[in-house]
Symmetry: C2
Subunit: 314 residues, 2 copies
């Protein structure tokens, strides 16, 4: 593929088009990813998650500038899974990121689901692979915190940053239990605010409650004021330590395999649905949905009818 | 099925076991759902979403008590998509819900994904169907806000409540764009706090910006102080008005069909993966994942290899 060649050569326009193709999905995405996949596996993939208003974009901004000064190249993907409806939810974030525009060592892209089930997770995985293949040394994925998206980010990233801020809602509730398991590094942003020390102690206590970390990595808690670029260097060095730990402990390989397994499953699910859609296009499919809605057939039996001659034929 | 019979007869233990079966998935879930599906379609399904700390549980609690006083039966499902890791993230919520325990007109269940991709959305749809079939007149689904989970809730519910509270983070950011499209009713909870009026005006302005509602329903904004049971009656009556609107406008049927279509797709995706898993169990599957992780093959080509003889055979 010509597009794959330009993308591998570092052509930005090819990369942008490639990500659009990945978002759209289907056969063109499959071909493109197949063509570049062997060139992936070099980037360090960092997930950044936290509640709205936690300062994710500002933090990503200052990290990116820090690494640019050290000569590294950075790809940034902003994921907003809530935008199948709106398509424009992260406009505010992108505007604040403008200072990074025009630098060829940085590539920024907002992604939104095209409304397919699970499509955004698959498309984000593909976009990471494309940035990686295009030679970006660091890939940052920024996502709105809470719920499935955090879990997806943790599954896609090698190092996951969880950003908390003092004074947002009831602390015990806002530090959700699941978060402890996905955070490789905690950032307490807006650490100049009241309650920062309390939040840090609370996080520390929760980590202690969890006992010794099963993988030998104790998540550090980094105070930061991203707006004033405080804590950026400490955070960057914690990320570097985590990366070293992943390699030294063999966890890098384990995480890579998990990511491969997950991406494989996402792709199979989407591909199976696409193939069935293509095969039972139009009237037959819609007639089944009508029957389900009218409760003349249940969706499990309907699914089995579609799948039976195909997937389960022995 | 005996279990289906007891469940349809309103046996609570059968219902509890049924939901566990739905969570686990696989053939037993398929059979159970097939057996009860014709008895669904009577409950009014209400989604409740909002950020951590917005007071969702308290609000659900007071709504449930309000309806109980009117003699209605209520099923409550609390979904926490972030707990595949923890399994226990919503303990705090459940403790606060205790006052409802022991009332046979109320059934409360927390659900967590068992780690399957998309599994929680499918299992939640199944649990709604089970509560509906068991005769609960109102089914409330409570979910942590932000991201994909909100969208999923909106897709599963007939009436979606979005809870906002004054003073949480930057307002413009915390009222995410996608939220406007999924909210049938806004609740401004903790309306006795500073900033409540500002939040209400902001919401009103955002709604006005969106122009006249395409479906003829202008989402009301209900101030509430759920902790002191203020606004509950107004909220309940807004929900009732929305339900009437859905029926009168024909949107109820359209939403039902959308839900059926979505559930069908979720089930197909899960079933296709399960069948392929069962077929290529163990070594062959793992060997493919190893090859993908080693980048000897890309996941798209690997998926096509698995699916080719099955799904796409003409």
């Amino acid at each position: 593929l010509e597009l794959a060649q330009s993308l591998l050569a570092g052509n930005r326009r090819a990369l942008a088009r490639g990500i659009t193709i990945a978002e759209t999905g289907g056969a063109p995405a499959h071909e493109l990813l197949a063509a570049i996949y062997a060139s992936t596996g070099r980037a360090h993939i960092i997930g950044v998650t936290g509640a709205p208003g936690a300062g994710k974009s500002t933090l990503v901004n200052s990290l990116a500038l820090h690494w640019r000064r050290a000569g590294k190249t950075i790809g940034i993907i902003a994921v907003d899974p809530s935008s199948p409806f709106s398509g424009g939810a992260i406009l505010g974030d992108r505007i604040r990121m403008q200072p990074l525009g025009g630098d060829p060592g940085i590539f920024i892209r907002s992604m939104a689901s095209r409304g397919r089930l699970g499509g955004i997770a698959r498309a984000t995985g593909d976009a990471i692979a494309l940035l990686d293949a295009a030679g970006f040394e660091i890939v940052l994925i920024e996502t709105v915190g809470a719920g499935q998206s955090e879990v997806e980010i943790a599954a896609a990233a090698q190092t996951t940053l969880v950003i908390e801020v003092p004074g947002m809602g009831d602390d015990v509730q806002s530090i959700k239990a699941g978060i402890l398991e996905i955070a490789d590094i905690f950032v307490v942003n807006k650490a100049d605010r009241d309650g920062a020390d309390g939040l840090i102690s609370q996080l520390r206590a929760m980590l202690r409650l969890g006992g010794p970390p099963p993988n030998g990595w104790e998540p550090p808690i980094i105070p930061a004021v991203a707006m004033r670029d405080q804590g950026t260097a400490e955070l960057a060095s914690a990320i570097e330590r985590h990366r070293t730990h992943l390699h030294a402990s063999g966890q890098q390989a384990a995480r890579d395999r998990e990511r491969a397994s997950r991406e494989f499953q996402l792709i199979i699910q989407e591909a199976a649905l696409e193939r069935l859609h293509a095969r039972y296009a139009g009237a037959a499919w819609e007639a089944l949905v009508d029957q389900i809605a009218a409760r003349e057939i249940d969706p499990y039996t309907a699914a089995a009818q579609l799948l039976e001659p195909e997937v389960s034929r022995k």
